[in-house]
Amino acid sequence: MKRWDIKSAVALLVLSALVFLESLQLDLGRLRNPGPGFFPLYLSLLLGGLSLLLLLKALLQRNGDGVKPLWVGKRWIKVVLCAAGLFSYSAVLDLIGYPIATTLLMVLFFRFIAPQKWYVVYCGSVIIAVVSYVVFKSWLGIQLPFFGVLSF
């Protein structure tokens, strides 16, 4: 964990520096009338201080503590794939519409993340996309794009 604690502490220090600089762009006000930048500025200092403490603690840890790997095997690749699929789905939903985007997402899930038989992959994906569209749209009244840009 030591190695990862050092990395997280450094990332948090960078974040606190960014928040500090951005807060300076806002009106800090005075103590008797604090402005919008007052609270975030002091929070960034607090975050910076705590991150330094974490860094110090990690550096003082014995080396043996850093041996435990965070990611064992190659299953984490599936997590990356899944996250990429979710990001892409969110980005293209308005463009290609709900049924197509959902079918593609389900194919990704059932083909690569939790492999299923071919008929589940393709038929199941289409069924889930269509049935869920009807449920969300008709029963729950959620506005979802059907054709996306194709409808224009």
Binding site: L26, K78, V79, F87, Y89, A91, I142
Partner: protein
């Protein structure tokens, strides 16, 4: 007399068809997630949060809290039948509940868990009803400085008790505060850290954030663990769900003790429903004439903790409703859900929205009754659900989250924010950073900032206002002790270790 009158008013609100339906859907989905390991009440509340936006505030509160106490009930089923706790507060139930199931006593174990939870839940509702009005009166005396003290103390306790490294939890709380500053400044009306993104002008959307941190990240972890299906479910036919007279005799006092202990511990910020179950179990073991029976199928080991977890889950509602202080991340989500409806919990809730307050209290009576009906005859169905294929389930959970986030503003940016927080939540789990302090910081941060700035305005810029006022001073002193004590102790231990090492080196060289 006033209490009875108010409660009657609450029942008239709760018996409206929509509220009754919301209560039923809440406890049903709560029991379902309690049964299904891998998705907890926090994730479910976050997933269902967007659905409640279109409902009236009282209806949404009734449904969301139903999920919470429903999950407490449902968690016991998997603990007893499969030795897998459906959610963390049912871990202790595994110890004796599963042993009872192996001895062919699964029926009485499930029965006493359901009855114990029902009795504890009813006790907690009575206590909330009795304690809420005087606490509200007290809270009405609070000014901005007192609120700063109270909220800081609540934040500190939750951070301290959230488990894992205290330093990392503190960092998460501060990060939550920073995230809470995004959006429009409520006092001056200035935009902060929005970078031209329209979705961020009202701040980071809470449902997208909690769905990502609790829902999506849990699924990511499950994917990495290989989407493992459940263990072998107890196969023998369940019979005799009603506990015998001897079972009742053995369980009566543990249920009473668990209910009282759970409620009062549950009202304290940060305690949650898990710690009271462990305390209840150890108390029952200590008080038992035959402590060696514990771990081998003692019914007291099921009755006490099951009552304690339900009572504690509901006890957390007392500070939320009366002081506006959420005792844990789930309560913070309930608070967030109400804030979206423009309703602020706290002392004014009872005065300004008596329909929400009393309707909600009455719904808990009705919800507890519904749970008893759901848990006993439907246990067979819950067992079948346990066997649901997770590879299909995970895809549906993710789809529901995506649509839920998108539907808030019919905007893809909300869905992107949710996935972003899903990745952040996954990394936090891997790097051992706790999620609850971040969510609590995010929700309480703007309230603390507002009270802090109002206090400074009132005092002309003097921080002495937080010391001179006795209630604020006491709250802040307690917070300091909670922060400084563990840090001081770890420094002391570190110094002692170094000294021991030096001494042993000296001894070797001699």
């Amino acid at each position: 007399m006033d209490l009875l009158h108010n409660l009657f008013y609450g029942f008239t609100v709760c018996f409206e068809p929509l509220n009754l339906l919301a209560c039923f859907i809440g406890v049903l989905s709560g029991t379902l997630v309690g049964v299904l390991p891998g998705i907890g009440p926090a994730a479910t509340i976050s997933i269902l949060l967007p659905i409640t936006f279109k409902m009236p505030a009282a209806t949404s509160l009734i449904m969301l809290s139903g999920i919470y106490y429903g999950a407490m009930y449902g968690g016991s089923t998997t603990s007893i039948l499969v030795n897998i706790p459906g959610e963390a507060a049912s871990v202790v139930t595994c110890l004796d509940g599963y042993q009872m199931a192996r001895q062919g006593k699964a029926g009485p174990a499930l029965g006493i868990a359901a009855f114990g939870s029902f009795i504890a839940g009813t006790f907690a509702v009575l206590m909330i009803m009795l304690l809420a009005p005087p606490l509200t009166k007290l809270a009405l005396e609070f000014g901005p400085p007192e609120y700063v003290g109270l909220l800081v103390l609540a934040m500190t306790m939750v951070t301290y008790l959230s488990g894992g490294s205290f330093l990392k939890s503190l960092i998460m709380a501060v990060l939550g505060f920073i995230l809470g500053t995004i959006g429009i400044d409520r006092i001056r009306g200035v935009y902060r850290f929005t970078y031209g993104i329209t979705t961020l002008t009202d701040g980071v959307p809470l449902p997208a954030m909690v769905m990502g941190l609790f829902g999506i990240s849990e699924v990511f972890v499950n994917i990495e663990e290989g989407l493992i299906s459940q263990g072998e479910v107890y196969q023998a036919k369940l019979k005799g769900l009603l506990p015998s007279l001897t079972d009742w005799k053995n369980s009566a006092l543990p249920i009473a003790r668990g209910s009282i202990l759970g409620f009062f511990l549950g009202t304290l910020p940060g305690i949650g429903a898990i710690i009271p179950t462990f305390i209840s179990y150890s108390i029952e073991k200590k008080l038992s004439k035959n402590p060696e029976r514990f771990g081998r199928g003692a019914i007291e080991g099921v009755a006490g903790p099951e009552s304690a977890n339900n009572s504690a889950a509901m006890g957390g509602l007392l500070p939320l409703l009366t002081l506006g202080v959420p005792a844990n991340a789930i309560m913070a989500m309930l608070l967030g859900g109400l804030l979206i409806h423009g309703v602020q919990t706290g002392p004014l809730l009872l005065k300004q929205h008596p329909d929400i307050f009393w309707g909600f209290i009455a719904s808990m009576y009705i919800g507890n009754g519904m749970l008893l009906i759901l848990n006993l005859p439907l246990i067979g169905i819950w067992v079948k659900i346990l066997k649901a294929p997770y590879p299909i389930l995970f895809a549906l959970i993710l789809l529901f989250c995506l649509v839920g986030a998108y539907s808030m503003n019919s905007n893809y940016v909300d869905a992107l924010i949710m996935v972003f927080f899903g990745v952040v939540g996954y990394l936090m789990k891997k790097l051992e950073f706790e999620g609850p302090p971040l969510v609590l910081g995010f929700i309480l941060g703007p309230l603390i900032e507002e009270s802090l700035r109002q206090s400074l305005l009132r005092s002309g810029g003097s921080f002495a206002i937080f010391v001179h006022r006795p209630i604020t001073g006491t709250f802040l002193l307690l917070s300091c002790i909670i922060i400084v004590l563990p840090l001081g102790l770890s420094l002391f231990n570190f110094g002692r270790k170094k000294l021991d090492m030096l001494n042993s080196r000296k001894a070797k060289t001699k």
